[in-house]
């Protein structure tokens, strides 16, 4: 009986060890950006808040949380991050960037370099 209990506990432990950890939602995701997945104002607000309002370094967890929470899709978040990086870079070059915008660009670029999202443009 003791052996059976031990074997059961060992099996449970091994089972736990082989359970995959939560995968990064974005790593090597293949994303196609369209007007549809960048047009939702609520998603835009959520992503922008992640890129600007959180403490330094926590933006990535914030963005992952939007997907893990089932609120927004990988496509929506990834495409909005790229869109913000583009628009804020334009603002910097035009001399019209705000402090929040510059922070959004820095965080978006760090995220784009780290996450290795595979942006593709799907042929219509």
């Amino acid at each position: 009986m003791k052996y059976a209990t031990l074997l059961f506990a060992l099996a449970a432990t091994l089972s736990c060890k082989t359970t995959p950890t939560t995968p990064d939602s974005f790593f090597q995701a293949v994303v196609a950006c369209t007007e549809d997945n960048t047009a939702n104002p609520q998603a835009q607000q959520a992503v922008y808040q992640c890129l600007t309002n959180v403490v330094v370094g926590a933006y990535a967890g914030c963005l992952s949380g939007l997907v893990a929470g089932g609120v927004w899709t990988v496509n929506e978040v990834a495409c909005l991050v790229r869109a913000y990086a583009t628009s804020e870079a334009v603002n910097v070059n035009k001399g019209t960037a705000t402090a929040a915008g510059s922070q959004a660009l820095a965080n978006a670029n760090a995220w784009l370099r780290d996450e290795q999202v595979r942006y593709r443009r799907a042929t219509p």
């Binding site: 950006c33 990086a85 804020e88 942006y119 042929t123």
Partner: protein, 241 residues
């Protein structure tokens, strides 16, 4: 496996840019996104511009770029297959033979392609993913010259082959309209949108150019990137004359 798609770029050997303009020499403090698609808000460009059947890639590549410039600036479309083929025939004398990238760049600057003239072309280090992505954003895409292997015939993703690459297919000019520092490029070839990995670029590219044209300014007086291009033009004007 064969292909009915034509190529048409002569050359294919690494070039030593001892006397050419380098974009890196003129970039100072410019902001750019780490991933960019300059066509994202523009109509889909699916026109092969005569490249599938004629092998005029050396002119079709610039044609896609000019078509984009006109679209971004809100101008009427100037690029036609006839205009691209006319430039191709002017360079090769109507022989149907391939052209070199230097021939095309010189013609683009002196004669113009479909009514668009270059102010200058700048060499970009295609192994520097940050520089490539920055150039794509700042100057509206990057022109890439490849010596393509046969294994990519018919493929919509150009990645490093697992084994034999089939040998050399030929020289090819494409316009890259999207770039990601961590992933690779999207290029327009034959009116198709093809993904190209950085590893593939490192192995098979032999030149990359960003271009400054007389037509890269939008209605607001700024380039797509928000840059005022006058300073850059002035800096290179004397050198490229």
């Amino acid at each position: 496996m064969g292909s009915t798609f034509c190529l048409g770029l002569e050359g294919g050997k690494p070039q030593h840019h001892t006397t050419k303009l380098r974009l890196a020499d003129y970039r100072t403090g410019v902001a750019y996104p780490a991933a960019i698609d300059v066509t994202i808000d523009q109509p889909a460009d699916l026109d092969d511009l005569g490249n599938i059947g004629n092998g005029d890639c050396g002119l079709a590549g610039p044609g896609h770029n000019i078509l984009w410039m006109d679209s971004v600036a809100g101008r009427d479309r100037r690029v036609t297959t006839e205009g691209v083929l006319a430039a191709w025939n002017a360079i090769n004398g109507g022989t149907g033979e391939g052209v070199t990238s230097d021939q095309v760049l010189a013609y683009w600057r002196t004669e113009g392609i479909c009514g668009c003239r270059l102010a200058a072309s700048l060499v970009v280090d295609y192994n520097d993913h940050e520089a490539m992505t920055a150039a794509c954003f700042e100057l509206g895409g990057v022109h890439l010259m490849f010596s393509l292997p046969k294994c990519v015939q018919g493929e919509m993703e150009w990645v490093m082959p697992a084994g034999d690459d089939g040998g050399t297919w030929g020289g090819h000019w494409v316009w890259a309209f999207a770039s990601s520092t961590s992933d690779g490029l999207m290029v327009n070839s034959w009116g198709q949108w093809i993904y190209v990995s950085w590893a593939f670029v490192a192995r098979y590219a032999f030149d990359a150019r960003a271009v400054i044209s007389e037509d890269d300014i939008g209605p607001n007086g700024l380039a797509f990137s928000g840059l005022d291009m006058e300073g850059l033009r002035a800096a290179i004007a004397g050198l490229s004359a």
